[in-house]
Amino acid sequence: MEAAADLVFKALADHTRRDLLDALYAHDGQTLTALEERVPMTRFGVMKHLKVLEEAGLVVTRKRGREKLHFLNPVPIRLIHDRWVSKYAEPWAASLSALKADLEES
């Protein structure tokens, strides 16, 4: 679990890779050729970044006919949310909702 989280955090710690994820978020299921047009980088550079994203599980490829399509896999981000973000963010969100309810009642 921790090793998997390391891969996700490392993959996200690079703006080109975040740009690639955003490109897939906006438009899922793209070929390498299509993704090359989204970032100012050589084909080899894009391939290298996609490999890091794939190893972290953030990008999953599926064959469709002769094309290899890249899909954003949001599950590892959800796992990090469930393991880390919710622990710190939720008590805060819960007390804000309670405050909102109190204010609305009075």
């Binding site: 438009h27 899922d28 793209q30 896999n73 469930d82 919710s86």
Partner: protein, 175 residues
């Protein structure tokens, strides 16, 4: 480019379907293929990580299934098109289902889509892939947006025996 023949932008961000009408969700779970299959097909286990929703079927090829919180809300129904549980000889599991979402009028209007569960052993774990495809061009993100939370809960259940308790994950489990 794959979009030039469509005029409408399709994106998660807009709540519309990904290009190619397909969403893919993948997770690694430290459990045997048999345990993963059981967690998908056993209504009691399924409810524990699916917002309290039980899924009932006899899990034979061509059989139907229903998913609901009895007396509260109908969630989905459909047909089990391919049912191949992992066996001692072949540890890969495959379940292909038609998926009619039922939880609201808006979601019902999305029509029939398809959900494919693939289980593949990798070392001491399994790769579980859920492919939700045949989505309509203007698919509501609500239709497929719940999978990350469901799969995260499935992983937690199989690896720790515990329930995921993030907001929403126990939506219907109060009763």
């Amino acid at each position: 480019m794959t979009t030039q023949n469509t005029t409408q932008t399709v994106s998660f961000a807009d709540g519309t379907a990904p290009v190619g009408d397909t969403a893919v969700f993948e997770i690694f779970i430290k459990a045997t293929a048999e345990r993963v299959w059981a967690a998908i097909t056993d209504p009691e286990q399924r409810a524990k990580y699916s917002f309290g929703v039980q899924t009932h079927s006899d899990w034979t090829p061509g059989s139907s299934y229903t998913a609901s919180v009895p007396g509260v809300v109908d969630i989905a129904s459909g047909e089990n098109v391919v049912v191949e549980p992992p066996t001692a000889d072949n540890q890969r599991g495959l379940l292909v289902q038609t998926f009619n979402a039922l939880w609201s009028d808006e979601i019902r209007a999305q029509g029939t889509t398809r959900v494919t569960w693939e289980i593949e052993p990798v070392g001491d774990s399994c790769r579980l892939t859920v492919v939700h495809d045949q989505l309509p061009p203007t698919a509501n993100a609500e239709l497929y947006g719940g999978w990350p939370m469901i799969l995260s809960g499935l992983k937690t259940l199989l690896e720790t025996g515990e329930l995921l308790t993030t907001p929403g994950s126990l939506m219907y489990q109060g009763g």
